[in-house]
Protein backbone atom coordinates (compact mmCIF):
# COMPACT_ATOMS: atom_id res chain seq x y z
CA UNK A 1 0.00 0.00 0.00
CA UNK A 2 0.96 3.63 -0.44
CA UNK A 3 1.06 5.89 2.63
CA UNK A 4 1.88 9.54 3.03
CA UNK A 5 3.25 9.47 6.55
CA UNK A 6 4.57 12.06 8.92
CA UNK A 7 8.16 11.87 10.09
CA UNK A 8 8.03 11.34 13.85
CA UNK A 9 11.69 11.40 14.73
CA UNK A 10 15.03 11.57 13.02
CA UNK A 11 18.24 10.49 14.64
CA UNK A 12 21.85 9.90 13.77
CA UNK A 13 23.49 6.66 14.78
CA UNK A 14 27.17 6.87 14.00
CA UNK A 15 27.47 6.89 10.22
CA UNK A 16 23.75 6.26 9.78
CA UNK A 17 20.52 8.19 9.76
CA UNK A 18 17.32 6.72 11.13
CA UNK A 19 13.86 7.99 10.24
CA UNK A 20 10.70 6.97 12.06
CA UNK A 21 7.58 7.56 10.04
CA UNK A 22 3.92 7.21 11.03
CA UNK A 23 2.55 4.63 8.59
CA UNK A 24 -0.09 2.50 10.33
CA UNK A 25 -1.04 0.30 7.39
CA UNK A 26 2.55 -0.62 6.66
CA UNK A 27 3.49 -1.22 10.29
CA UNK A 28 0.50 -3.51 10.72
CA UNK A 29 1.33 -5.73 7.75
CA UNK A 30 5.07 -5.79 8.41
CA UNK A 31 7.04 -9.04 8.72
CA UNK A 32 10.82 -9.20 9.27
CA UNK A 33 12.69 -8.81 5.99
CA UNK A 34 10.12 -6.51 4.40
CA UNK A 35 11.27 -3.28 2.83
CA UNK A 36 9.66 0.01 1.87
CA UNK A 37 9.93 2.14 -1.27
CA UNK A 38 10.42 5.78 -0.41
CA UNK A 39 9.73 8.66 -2.77
CA UNK A 40 12.56 11.20 -2.59
CA UNK A 41 13.07 14.79 -3.66
CA UNK A 42 9.64 16.31 -3.03
CA UNK A 43 7.26 17.93 -5.50
CA UNK A 44 8.61 18.40 -9.03
CA UNK A 45 11.79 16.51 -8.26
CA UNK A 46 13.88 15.15 -11.10
CA UNK A 47 14.35 11.89 -9.14
CA UNK A 48 11.73 9.50 -10.41
CA UNK A 49 12.45 6.17 -8.79
CA UNK A 50 11.68 5.25 -5.21
CA UNK A 51 14.55 4.29 -2.95
CA UNK A 52 14.34 0.91 -1.20
CA UNK A 53 15.05 0.55 2.53
CA UNK A 54 14.70 -2.40 4.82
CA UNK A 55 12.44 -1.75 7.75
CA UNK A 56 14.54 -1.64 10.90
CA UNK A 57 11.73 -1.49 13.38
CA UNK A 58 7.98 -1.06 13.72
CA UNK A 59 6.21 0.32 16.80
CA UNK A 60 2.54 0.64 17.70
CA UNK A 61 2.82 4.39 18.52
CA UNK A 62 0.38 6.68 16.69
CA UNK A 63 -1.34 3.71 15.13
CA UNK A 64 1.91 2.26 13.85
CA UNK A 65 5.35 3.58 12.88
CA UNK A 66 8.13 2.24 10.70
CA UNK A 67 11.78 3.05 11.15
CA UNK A 68 14.49 2.63 8.54
CA UNK A 69 18.21 3.21 8.71
CA UNK A 70 20.39 4.47 5.92
CA UNK A 71 23.65 6.11 5.05
CA UNK A 72 24.02 8.91 2.55
CA UNK A 73 25.09 7.54 -0.74
CA UNK A 74 23.73 9.77 -3.47
CA UNK A 75 21.18 12.53 -3.98
CA UNK A 76 18.17 10.51 -2.79
CA UNK A 77 19.63 9.54 0.54
CA UNK A 78 21.10 13.05 0.89
CA UNK A 79 17.58 14.42 0.60
CA UNK A 80 16.28 11.92 3.13
CA UNK A 81 19.02 12.89 5.57
CA UNK A 82 17.62 16.44 5.53
CA UNK A 83 14.11 15.41 6.58
CA UNK A 84 12.93 16.71 9.92
CA UNK A 85 10.16 15.77 12.33
CA UNK A 86 6.72 16.71 10.97
CA UNK A 87 7.82 16.55 7.31
CA UNK A 88 5.78 14.10 5.28
CA UNK A 89 7.20 11.11 3.47
CA UNK A 90 5.58 9.00 0.77
CA UNK A 91 6.12 5.27 1.35
CA UNK A 92 4.99 2.15 -0.46
CA UNK A 93 5.12 -1.05 1.52
CA UNK A 94 5.56 -3.44 3.05
CA UNK A 95 7.31 -4.93 0.03
CA UNK A 96 9.04 -8.20 -0.65
CA UNK A 97 8.98 -11.70 0.70
CA UNK A 98 9.92 -11.73 4.40
CA UNK A 99 12.37 -14.09 6.13
CA UNK A 100 10.88 -17.54 6.69
CA UNK A 101 11.06 -18.51 10.34
CA UNK A 102 11.80 -21.99 11.69
CA UNK A 103 9.04 -23.93 13.43
CA UNK A 104 11.34 -25.28 16.09
CA UNK A 105 13.37 -23.45 18.72
CA UNK A 106 16.70 -23.73 16.95
CA UNK A 107 19.91 -21.71 17.19
CA UNK A 108 20.32 -18.99 14.61
CA UNK A 109 23.29 -16.82 13.72
CA UNK A 110 22.30 -13.43 12.38
CA UNK A 111 24.98 -11.88 10.21
CA UNK A 112 24.87 -8.25 9.17
CA UNK A 113 27.24 -5.88 7.45
CA UNK A 114 26.93 -2.12 7.08
CA UNK A 115 23.28 -0.98 7.06
CA UNK A 116 22.25 -4.60 6.51
CA UNK A 117 22.59 -5.15 10.25
CA UNK A 118 19.55 -2.93 10.81
CA UNK A 119 17.36 -5.50 9.12
CA UNK A 120 18.18 -8.23 11.63
CA UNK A 121 16.65 -7.01 14.85
CA UNK A 122 13.04 -7.68 13.96
CA UNK A 123 14.18 -11.10 12.77
CA UNK A 124 15.86 -11.67 16.12
CA UNK A 125 12.69 -10.60 17.89
CA UNK A 126 10.56 -13.01 15.91
CA UNK A 127 13.04 -15.86 16.37
CA UNK A 128 13.24 -15.29 20.10
CA UNK A 129 9.46 -15.21 20.18
CA UNK A 130 9.58 -18.76 18.90
CA UNK A 131 12.12 -19.74 21.50
CA UNK A 132 15.11 -19.68 19.21
CA UNK A 133 18.59 -18.82 20.42
CA UNK A 134 20.04 -15.86 18.57
CA UNK A 135 23.70 -14.96 18.10
CA UNK A 136 24.93 -11.92 16.20
CA UNK A 137 27.85 -11.32 13.92
CA UNK A 138 27.95 -7.69 12.81
CA UNK A 139 30.57 -5.95 10.74
CA UNK A 140 31.48 -2.80 8.92
CA UNK A 141 34.41 -0.97 7.41
CA UNK A 142 35.01 0.94 10.64
CA UNK A 143 33.48 1.24 14.11
CA UNK A 144 31.04 3.97 13.08
CA UNK A 145 29.65 1.76 10.33
CA UNK A 146 28.83 -1.23 12.55
CA UNK A 147 25.15 -0.72 13.17
CA UNK A 148 23.35 -1.90 16.31
CA UNK A 149 26.25 -3.37 18.31
CA UNK A 150 24.70 -2.35 21.62
CA UNK A 151 21.28 -3.73 20.83
CA UNK A 152 22.83 -6.94 19.55
CA UNK A 153 24.73 -7.33 22.82
CA UNK A 154 21.45 -6.93 24.71
CA UNK A 155 19.47 -9.33 22.52
CA UNK A 156 21.96 -11.92 21.40
CA UNK A 157 23.35 -14.81 23.34
CA UNK A 158 26.72 -13.80 21.92
CA UNK A 159 27.71 -10.92 19.69
CA UNK A 160 30.83 -10.86 17.56
CA UNK A 161 31.86 -7.62 15.88
CA UNK A 162 34.30 -7.07 13.03
CA UNK A 163 35.75 -4.00 11.37
CA UNK A 164 38.06 -3.88 8.43
CA UNK A 165 40.25 -1.29 10.11
CA UNK A 166 40.17 -3.03 13.50
CA UNK A 167 38.60 -0.02 15.21
CA UNK A 168 35.97 -2.24 16.84
CA UNK A 169 35.89 -5.97 17.56
CA UNK A 170 38.01 -8.26 15.41
CA UNK A 171 39.93 -6.86 12.46
CA UNK A 172 38.52 -8.40 9.32
CA UNK A 173 35.16 -9.26 7.87
CA UNK A 174 32.12 -11.08 9.19
CA UNK A 175 32.96 -14.08 7.02
CA UNK A 176 36.31 -14.40 8.79
CA UNK A 177 34.69 -14.99 12.18
CA UNK A 178 31.50 -16.70 11.07
CA UNK A 179 32.87 -20.28 10.92
CA UNK A 180 34.08 -19.98 14.51
CA UNK A 181 30.73 -18.63 15.70
CA UNK A 182 28.73 -21.31 13.89
CA UNK A 183 30.92 -23.99 15.40
CA UNK A 184 30.88 -22.48 18.91
CA UNK A 185 27.14 -22.01 19.15
CA UNK A 186 26.33 -25.12 17.08
CA UNK A 187 24.13 -23.02 14.85
CA UNK A 188 21.21 -24.60 13.02
CA UNK A 189 20.58 -21.74 10.60
CA UNK A 190 22.02 -18.46 9.35
CA UNK A 191 20.22 -15.21 8.47
CA UNK A 192 22.19 -12.57 6.63
CA UNK A 193 21.79 -9.10 5.20
CA UNK A 194 24.50 -6.97 3.64
CA UNK A 195 26.37 -6.32 0.40
CA UNK A 196 26.32 -9.01 -2.28
CA UNK A 197 29.96 -10.20 -1.83
CA UNK A 198 29.34 -10.60 1.90
CA UNK A 199 26.17 -12.64 1.27
CA UNK A 200 28.09 -14.84 -1.09
CA UNK A 201 30.77 -15.39 1.56
CA UNK A 202 28.22 -16.10 4.27
CA UNK A 203 26.43 -18.55 2.02
CA UNK A 204 29.69 -20.35 1.28
CA UNK A 205 30.33 -20.74 5.01
CA UNK A 206 26.81 -22.03 5.70
CA UNK A 207 27.05 -24.49 2.83
CA UNK A 208 30.34 -25.63 4.29
CA UNK A 209 28.58 -26.35 7.59
CA UNK A 210 25.59 -27.73 5.71
CA UNK A 211 23.08 -25.52 7.49
CA UNK A 212 20.33 -23.45 5.85
CA UNK A 213 21.05 -19.82 5.14
CA UNK A 214 18.56 -17.07 4.32
CA UNK A 215 19.96 -13.97 2.67
CA UNK A 216 18.31 -10.62 1.97
CA UNK A 217 19.81 -9.11 -1.19
CA UNK A 218 19.94 -5.61 -2.63
CA UNK A 219 19.70 -5.19 -6.38
CA UNK A 220 19.11 -1.91 -8.21
CA UNK A 221 15.34 -1.43 -8.23
CA UNK A 222 13.11 0.93 -10.15
CA UNK A 223 9.70 -0.13 -8.85
CA UNK A 224 9.92 -2.54 -5.91
CA UNK A 225 6.54 -4.04 -6.85
CA UNK A 226 7.48 -6.50 -9.55
CA UNK A 227 6.53 -4.63 -12.71
CA UNK A 228 9.76 -3.19 -14.11
CA UNK A 229 11.95 -6.33 -14.31
CA UNK A 230 15.12 -4.43 -13.51
CA UNK A 231 16.03 -6.09 -10.18
CA UNK A 232 16.65 -9.62 -11.37
CA UNK A 233 19.34 -12.07 -10.39
CA UNK A 234 19.94 -15.71 -11.31
CA UNK A 235 18.31 -18.05 -8.83
CA UNK A 236 17.96 -21.81 -9.05
CA UNK A 237 14.37 -22.98 -8.68
CA UNK A 238 12.99 -26.08 -6.99
CA UNK A 239 13.09 -27.74 -10.39
CA UNK A 240 16.82 -27.10 -10.70
CA UNK A 241 16.28 -24.54 -13.46
CA UNK A 242 18.00 -21.17 -13.15
CA UNK A 243 15.68 -18.24 -13.73
CA UNK A 244 16.27 -14.50 -13.72
CA UNK A 245 13.97 -13.73 -10.80
CA UNK A 246 12.91 -10.38 -9.44
CA UNK A 247 14.49 -9.64 -6.10
CA UNK A 248 11.66 -7.26 -5.16
CA UNK A 249 8.77 -9.74 -5.25
CA UNK A 250 10.42 -13.14 -5.38
CA UNK A 251 13.01 -11.84 -2.88
CA UNK A 252 14.68 -9.92 -1.40
CA UNK A 253 15.02 -12.95 0.85
CA UNK A 254 16.35 -16.09 -0.80
CA UNK A 255 17.85 -19.33 0.33
CA UNK A 256 21.51 -18.48 -0.06
CA UNK A 257 22.55 -21.61 -1.90
CA UNK A 258 19.91 -20.97 -4.55
CA UNK A 259 21.42 -17.62 -5.54
CA UNK A 260 24.12 -17.91 -8.19
CA UNK A 261 26.25 -15.19 -6.65
CA UNK A 262 29.11 -15.72 -9.10
CA UNK A 263 26.78 -15.04 -11.97
CA UNK A 264 25.05 -11.94 -10.60
CA UNK A 265 25.28 -9.27 -13.29
CA UNK A 266 25.24 -11.84 -16.07
CA UNK A 267 22.69 -14.07 -17.75
CA UNK A 268 24.10 -17.57 -17.10
CA UNK A 269 24.14 -19.55 -20.33
CA UNK A 270 21.91 -22.22 -18.80
CA UNK A 271 19.30 -19.82 -17.45
CA UNK A 272 15.75 -20.16 -18.72
CA UNK A 273 15.51 -18.04 -21.84
CA UNK A 274 19.22 -17.24 -22.03
CA UNK A 275 20.39 -16.11 -25.45
CA UNK A 276 21.54 -19.06 -27.54
CA UNK A 277 20.73 -22.59 -26.41
CA UNK A 278 19.23 -21.71 -23.02
CA UNK A 279 15.96 -20.55 -24.45
CA UNK A 280 14.84 -23.71 -26.04
CA UNK A 281 16.70 -26.19 -23.84
CA UNK A 282 15.13 -25.10 -20.64
CA UNK A 283 11.81 -23.87 -22.06
Amino acid sequence: MQVTGTVLTTRRVDAYHALTVVAPGIAERFRPGHFVGVAVGGARTSMLTRRAFFVHDVKPDYGGTVEFVFSVRGPGTAWLAERRARDTLDLVGPLGRPFPLPRDPVTCVLVGAEHGSATLFTVADALQGRGCRVDFVLGGVSADRVFGALRARRMGETTTLTTEDGSLGMRGRVTDVLPGVIADVRADAVYACGPMPMLRGVTAVAVEFDIPVQVAVEEGMACGIGVCMTCVLPVIGDDGVTRMVRSCVEGPVFRGERVRFDDVGTIPFDALGAPGGGTRNAG
Binding site: L48, V92, G226, V227, C228, M229, T230, V232, M244, G265
Partner: protein, 324 residues
Protein backbone atom coordinates in the same frame (compact mmCIF):
# COMPACT_ATOMS: atom_id res chain seq x y z
CA UNK B 1 -22.08 15.89 -14.61
CA UNK B 2 -19.83 12.93 -15.23
CA UNK B 3 -17.74 13.05 -18.38
CA UNK B 4 -18.27 10.34 -20.98
CA UNK B 5 -14.80 8.79 -20.92
CA UNK B 6 -15.37 6.12 -23.56
CA UNK B 7 -12.95 5.94 -26.41
CA UNK B 8 -12.33 3.74 -29.42
CA UNK B 9 -9.41 1.81 -30.82
CA UNK B 10 -10.68 1.09 -34.27
CA UNK B 11 -14.07 -0.52 -33.61
CA UNK B 12 -13.22 -1.62 -30.11
CA UNK B 13 -14.73 0.46 -27.38
CA UNK B 14 -12.74 1.07 -24.21
CA UNK B 15 -14.56 2.27 -21.09
CA UNK B 16 -11.89 4.89 -20.59
CA UNK B 17 -8.67 6.02 -22.25
CA UNK B 18 -6.10 4.90 -19.67
CA UNK B 19 -3.98 1.84 -20.26
CA UNK B 20 -0.65 0.57 -18.99
CA UNK B 21 2.35 0.88 -21.32
CA UNK B 22 3.86 -2.31 -22.71
CA UNK B 23 6.48 -3.83 -20.47
CA UNK B 24 5.54 -1.70 -17.48
CA UNK B 25 2.94 -3.95 -15.86
CA UNK B 26 4.65 -7.37 -16.00
CA UNK B 27 1.94 -10.06 -16.13
CA UNK B 28 -0.79 -7.86 -14.71
CA UNK B 29 -1.19 -9.80 -11.49
CA UNK B 30 1.40 -7.62 -9.76
CA UNK B 31 -0.71 -4.48 -10.19
CA UNK B 32 -3.91 -6.36 -9.40
CA UNK B 33 -2.83 -6.36 -5.78
CA UNK B 34 -3.22 -2.61 -5.79
CA UNK B 35 -6.41 -2.09 -7.81
CA UNK B 36 -8.99 -3.82 -9.99
CA UNK B 37 -7.49 -3.98 -13.48
CA UNK B 38 -10.93 -4.03 -15.07
CA UNK B 39 -11.35 -0.40 -14.04
CA UNK B 40 -8.81 0.88 -16.56
CA UNK B 41 -9.44 1.11 -20.29
CA UNK B 42 -7.04 -1.73 -21.00
CA UNK B 43 -3.94 -3.44 -19.75
CA UNK B 44 -1.09 -3.70 -22.23
CA UNK B 45 1.12 -6.73 -21.71
CA UNK B 46 4.89 -6.83 -21.92
CA UNK B 47 6.05 -7.61 -25.43
CA UNK B 48 5.47 -11.34 -25.84
CA UNK B 49 8.13 -13.28 -27.74
CA UNK B 50 8.04 -16.80 -29.20
CA UNK B 51 10.55 -18.34 -26.81
CA UNK B 52 11.04 -17.51 -23.15
CA UNK B 53 13.66 -14.78 -22.74
CA UNK B 54 15.96 -14.16 -19.82
CA UNK B 55 16.58 -10.59 -20.94
CA UNK B 56 19.70 -8.51 -20.38
CA UNK B 57 22.23 -8.68 -17.56
CA UNK B 58 22.01 -6.25 -14.65
CA UNK B 59 22.35 -3.33 -14.04
CA UNK B 60 19.27 -2.87 -16.19
CA UNK B 61 18.25 0.50 -14.88
CA UNK B 62 19.76 3.91 -14.32
CA UNK B 63 17.98 6.98 -13.11
CA UNK B 64 18.42 10.12 -15.23
CA UNK B 65 17.05 13.63 -14.77
CA UNK B 66 13.24 13.29 -14.77
CA UNK B 67 13.58 9.90 -16.37
CA UNK B 68 15.25 6.55 -16.34
CA UNK B 69 17.04 4.24 -18.70
CA UNK B 70 16.09 0.62 -18.94
CA UNK B 71 17.62 -2.33 -20.72
CA UNK B 72 15.41 -5.20 -19.71
CA UNK B 73 15.65 -6.95 -23.06
CA UNK B 74 12.09 -8.24 -23.26
CA UNK B 75 12.44 -10.71 -20.40
CA UNK B 76 9.34 -12.85 -20.45
CA UNK B 77 7.89 -16.32 -20.38
CA UNK B 78 7.39 -16.83 -24.13
CA UNK B 79 4.09 -17.13 -25.94
CA UNK B 80 3.23 -20.65 -24.74
CA UNK B 81 3.37 -19.77 -21.09
CA UNK B 82 1.66 -16.47 -21.83
CA UNK B 83 -1.29 -18.17 -23.49
CA UNK B 84 -1.43 -20.88 -20.90
CA UNK B 85 -1.24 -18.78 -17.75
CA UNK B 86 -1.11 -15.01 -18.13
CA UNK B 87 -3.78 -14.31 -20.74
CA UNK B 88 -6.43 -16.61 -19.22
CA UNK B 89 -5.79 -15.06 -15.81
CA UNK B 90 -6.49 -11.62 -17.27
CA UNK B 91 -9.46 -12.81 -19.32
CA UNK B 92 -11.09 -14.43 -16.28
CA UNK B 93 -10.99 -11.11 -14.48
CA UNK B 94 -12.56 -9.25 -17.38
CA UNK B 95 -9.43 -7.23 -18.07
CA UNK B 96 -9.38 -5.78 -21.57
CA UNK B 97 -5.95 -6.81 -22.78
CA UNK B 98 -3.80 -5.28 -25.47
CA UNK B 99 -1.21 -7.91 -26.26
CA UNK B 100 2.17 -6.51 -27.25
CA UNK B 101 4.32 -8.71 -29.47
CA UNK B 102 8.01 -8.54 -30.30
CA UNK B 103 10.04 -10.48 -32.85
CA UNK B 104 13.29 -10.57 -34.73
CA UNK B 105 11.86 -11.33 -38.18
CA UNK B 106 8.64 -10.69 -40.05
CA UNK B 107 7.99 -14.42 -39.79
CA UNK B 108 8.31 -14.37 -36.04
CA UNK B 109 5.85 -11.49 -35.63
CA UNK B 110 3.47 -13.30 -37.95
CA UNK B 111 3.78 -16.56 -36.07
CA UNK B 112 3.05 -14.73 -32.82
CA UNK B 113 0.00 -13.08 -34.33
CA UNK B 114 -1.22 -16.45 -35.53
CA UNK B 115 -0.91 -17.85 -32.05
CA UNK B 116 -2.97 -14.96 -30.69
CA UNK B 117 -5.68 -15.00 -33.28
CA UNK B 118 -7.78 -17.67 -31.64
CA UNK B 119 -6.89 -16.85 -28.07
CA UNK B 120 -9.87 -15.51 -26.14
CA UNK B 121 -9.40 -12.20 -24.40
CA UNK B 122 -7.26 -10.31 -26.88
CA UNK B 123 -8.66 -6.80 -27.15
CA UNK B 124 -6.00 -5.59 -29.55
CA UNK B 125 -2.51 -6.48 -30.67
CA UNK B 126 0.23 -3.90 -30.34
CA UNK B 127 3.23 -4.58 -32.52
CA UNK B 128 6.42 -3.46 -30.79
CA UNK B 129 8.47 -2.42 -33.79
CA UNK B 130 11.46 -1.38 -31.68
CA UNK B 131 13.07 -4.79 -32.02
CA UNK B 132 16.24 -5.46 -33.98
CA UNK B 133 15.62 -7.04 -37.36
CA UNK B 134 17.84 -10.09 -37.45
CA UNK B 135 17.63 -10.19 -41.21
CA UNK B 136 18.83 -6.60 -41.60
CA UNK B 137 21.98 -6.50 -39.46
CA UNK B 138 19.99 -5.85 -36.32
CA UNK B 139 18.53 -2.61 -37.62
CA UNK B 140 15.45 -1.75 -35.60
CA UNK B 141 12.21 -2.24 -37.58
CA UNK B 142 10.69 0.99 -36.27
CA UNK B 143 13.46 3.06 -37.83
CA UNK B 144 12.45 2.05 -41.31
CA UNK B 145 8.99 2.67 -42.71
CA UNK B 146 9.12 -0.16 -45.23
CA UNK B 147 10.26 -2.77 -42.73
CA UNK B 148 7.62 -1.60 -40.26
CA UNK B 149 4.91 -1.76 -42.89
CA UNK B 150 5.93 -5.26 -43.86
CA UNK B 151 5.58 -6.48 -40.30
CA UNK B 152 2.24 -4.75 -39.86
CA UNK B 153 0.81 -6.04 -43.14
CA UNK B 154 1.78 -9.56 -42.28
CA UNK B 155 0.39 -9.39 -38.75
CA UNK B 156 -2.81 -7.76 -40.03
CA UNK B 157 -3.26 -10.49 -42.58
CA UNK B 158 -3.31 -13.27 -40.01
CA UNK B 159 -5.09 -11.51 -37.13
CA UNK B 160 -8.84 -11.83 -36.66
CA UNK B 161 -10.56 -9.00 -38.49
CA UNK B 162 -12.19 -7.68 -35.33
CA UNK B 163 -8.95 -7.38 -33.36
CA UNK B 164 -7.27 -4.04 -34.07
CA UNK B 165 -3.58 -4.11 -34.93
CA UNK B 166 -1.66 -1.24 -33.41
CA UNK B 167 1.78 -0.23 -34.69
CA UNK B 168 4.08 1.05 -31.96
CA UNK B 169 6.50 3.66 -33.23
CA UNK B 170 9.87 4.89 -32.07
CA UNK B 171 10.88 8.57 -31.94
CA UNK B 172 14.39 7.69 -33.16
CA UNK B 173 13.57 8.42 -36.78
CA UNK B 174 14.01 11.30 -39.17
CA UNK B 175 10.31 11.65 -39.88
CA UNK B 176 7.79 9.86 -37.70
CA UNK B 177 4.93 10.82 -40.00
CA UNK B 178 6.34 8.83 -42.88
CA UNK B 179 6.76 5.73 -40.71
CA UNK B 180 3.24 6.23 -39.35
CA UNK B 181 1.85 6.56 -42.83
CA UNK B 182 3.66 3.43 -44.00
CA UNK B 183 2.19 1.48 -41.09
CA UNK B 184 -1.32 2.71 -41.77
CA UNK B 185 -0.91 1.89 -45.44
CA UNK B 186 0.27 -1.53 -44.33
CA UNK B 187 -2.99 -2.04 -42.47
CA UNK B 188 -2.46 -0.67 -38.97
CA UNK B 189 -5.79 0.16 -37.35
CA UNK B 190 -4.15 2.42 -34.81
CA UNK B 191 -0.75 3.78 -33.87
CA UNK B 192 0.98 3.89 -30.56
CA UNK B 193 3.82 6.24 -29.66
CA UNK B 194 6.38 6.75 -28.36
CA UNK B 195 8.58 3.86 -27.51
CA UNK B 196 11.77 4.73 -25.62
CA UNK B 197 14.38 6.78 -27.45
CA UNK B 198 17.83 5.27 -27.10
CA UNK B 199 19.93 6.81 -24.36
CA UNK B 200 22.91 6.12 -22.22
CA UNK B 201 24.43 7.08 -18.96
CA UNK B 202 27.91 6.63 -17.56
CA UNK B 203 28.71 5.89 -13.95
CA UNK B 204 31.32 8.54 -13.29
CA UNK B 205 32.66 6.69 -10.24
CA UNK B 206 33.27 3.44 -12.07
CA UNK B 207 33.95 5.35 -15.32
CA UNK B 208 31.90 2.74 -17.16
CA UNK B 209 28.45 2.63 -18.77
CA UNK B 210 25.82 2.52 -16.03
CA UNK B 211 23.88 -0.23 -17.82
CA UNK B 212 25.30 -3.65 -18.51
CA UNK B 213 23.82 -3.37 -22.00
CA UNK B 214 25.62 0.01 -22.44
CA UNK B 215 22.64 1.76 -24.05
CA UNK B 216 19.02 1.63 -22.93
CA UNK B 217 15.61 3.11 -23.49
CA UNK B 218 14.84 6.50 -21.99
CA UNK B 219 11.43 6.93 -20.36
CA UNK B 220 9.65 9.23 -17.99
CA UNK B 221 8.70 12.94 -18.02
CA UNK B 222 12.02 13.86 -19.65
CA UNK B 223 10.70 12.48 -22.96
CA UNK B 224 7.19 13.89 -22.75
CA UNK B 225 8.00 16.82 -25.05
CA UNK B 226 9.14 14.29 -27.68
CA UNK B 227 5.94 12.27 -27.21
CA UNK B 228 3.68 15.31 -27.49
CA UNK B 229 5.50 16.37 -30.64
CA UNK B 230 5.20 12.92 -32.26
CA UNK B 231 1.51 12.59 -31.41
CA UNK B 232 0.90 16.11 -32.68
CA UNK B 233 2.69 15.55 -35.98
CA UNK B 234 1.04 12.21 -36.67
CA UNK B 235 -2.44 13.40 -35.71
CA UNK B 236 -2.00 16.44 -37.96
CA UNK B 237 -1.07 14.22 -40.88
CA UNK B 238 -3.47 11.35 -40.21
CA UNK B 239 -6.36 12.84 -38.23
CA UNK B 240 -8.60 9.81 -38.54
CA UNK B 241 -6.14 7.25 -37.16
CA UNK B 242 -6.55 6.48 -33.45
CA UNK B 243 -3.38 7.15 -31.47
CA UNK B 244 -2.29 5.62 -28.19
CA UNK B 245 -0.09 8.30 -26.70
CA UNK B 246 2.58 7.62 -24.11
CA UNK B 247 5.81 8.99 -22.76
CA UNK B 248 6.26 10.52 -19.35
CA UNK B 249 2.64 10.70 -18.28
CA UNK B 250 2.62 11.16 -14.49
CA UNK B 251 -0.62 13.08 -13.96
CA UNK B 252 -4.03 13.75 -15.44
CA UNK B 253 -2.64 17.00 -16.81
CA UNK B 254 0.03 15.07 -18.72
CA UNK B 255 -2.58 12.67 -20.13
CA UNK B 256 -4.68 15.66 -21.15
CA UNK B 257 -1.68 17.17 -22.93
CA UNK B 258 -1.34 14.04 -25.12
CA UNK B 259 -5.09 13.98 -25.72
CA UNK B 260 -5.08 17.61 -26.83
CA UNK B 261 -2.22 16.70 -29.17
CA UNK B 262 -4.32 13.95 -30.73
CA UNK B 263 -4.18 10.77 -28.62
CA UNK B 264 -7.47 9.02 -27.89
CA UNK B 265 -5.87 6.52 -25.51
CA UNK B 266 -3.06 7.29 -23.08
CA UNK B 267 -0.64 4.70 -21.75
CA UNK B 268 1.10 4.96 -18.42
CA UNK B 269 4.54 3.38 -18.07
CA UNK B 270 7.30 4.66 -15.83
CA UNK B 271 4.79 6.39 -13.54
CA UNK B 272 3.68 2.93 -12.40
CA UNK B 273 7.10 2.35 -10.92
CA UNK B 274 6.62 5.31 -8.66
CA UNK B 275 2.95 4.97 -7.96
CA UNK B 276 1.22 1.59 -8.34
CA UNK B 277 -2.11 3.43 -8.34
CA UNK B 278 -1.00 5.79 -11.11
CA UNK B 279 -3.53 4.60 -13.71
CA UNK B 280 -6.58 5.18 -11.55
CA UNK B 281 -5.24 8.44 -10.17
CA UNK B 282 -4.49 9.73 -13.67
CA UNK B 283 -7.92 8.66 -14.85
CA UNK B 284 -9.59 10.52 -11.98
CA UNK B 285 -7.46 13.62 -12.49
CA UNK B 286 -8.15 13.58 -16.21
CA UNK B 287 -11.87 13.31 -15.69
CA UNK B 288 -11.79 16.18 -13.21
CA UNK B 289 -9.80 18.32 -15.64
CA UNK B 290 -12.24 17.63 -18.45
CA UNK B 291 -15.22 18.35 -16.24
CA UNK B 292 -13.66 21.58 -14.97
CA UNK B 293 -13.26 22.75 -18.56
CA UNK B 294 -16.84 21.93 -19.43
CA UNK B 295 -16.28 18.88 -21.57
CA UNK B 296 -19.10 16.35 -21.66
CA UNK B 297 -17.12 13.78 -23.58
CA UNK B 298 -13.48 12.87 -23.72
CA UNK B 299 -13.79 12.51 -27.49
CA UNK B 300 -14.33 16.25 -27.81
CA UNK B 301 -10.90 16.95 -26.40
CA UNK B 302 -8.98 14.63 -28.69
CA UNK B 303 -6.70 16.73 -30.90
CA UNK B 304 -8.35 19.94 -29.76
CA UNK B 305 -5.08 21.88 -29.61
CA UNK B 306 -4.97 21.62 -33.42
CA UNK B 307 -7.90 23.99 -33.88
CA UNK B 308 -6.91 27.14 -35.75
CA UNK B 309 -5.74 30.07 -33.59
CA UNK B 310 -8.98 32.04 -33.94
CA UNK B 311 -11.38 29.25 -33.02
CA UNK B 312 -12.68 28.91 -29.51
CA UNK B 313 -12.85 25.51 -27.90
CA UNK B 314 -16.55 25.80 -27.04
CA UNK B 315 -17.26 26.29 -30.67
CA UNK B 316 -15.67 23.08 -31.68
CA UNK B 317 -17.34 21.10 -28.92
CA UNK B 318 -20.71 22.31 -30.18
CA UNK B 319 -20.02 21.74 -33.83
CA UNK B 320 -18.52 18.31 -33.94
CA UNK B 321 -20.12 15.05 -33.04
CA UNK B 322 -16.84 13.31 -32.51
CA UNK B 323 -13.27 14.14 -33.18
CA UNK B 324 -12.34 10.55 -33.81
Amino acid sequence: MPVDMRTYLGHVELVNPVTTAAGCAASGSELAQFFDLARIGALTTRSITMAPRAGRPTPRMAETPSGMLNAVGLQGPGVDAFLERELPWLAQRGVRTVVSIGGGTVAEYTALARRLTDAPGVTAVEVNLSCPNIEDRGRVFARDGAASAEVIASVRSVMRYDVPVVAKLSPDVVDIVSVARACVDGGADALSMINNPLGMSIDTEAMRPALAAVTGGLSGPAIRPLAVRCVWQVHAALPSVPIIGMGGVLTGRDAFELILAGACVVAVGTALFHDPYACLRILRELEELLAARGFHRLADAVGLAHRPPGASSRHRIDLEESSL
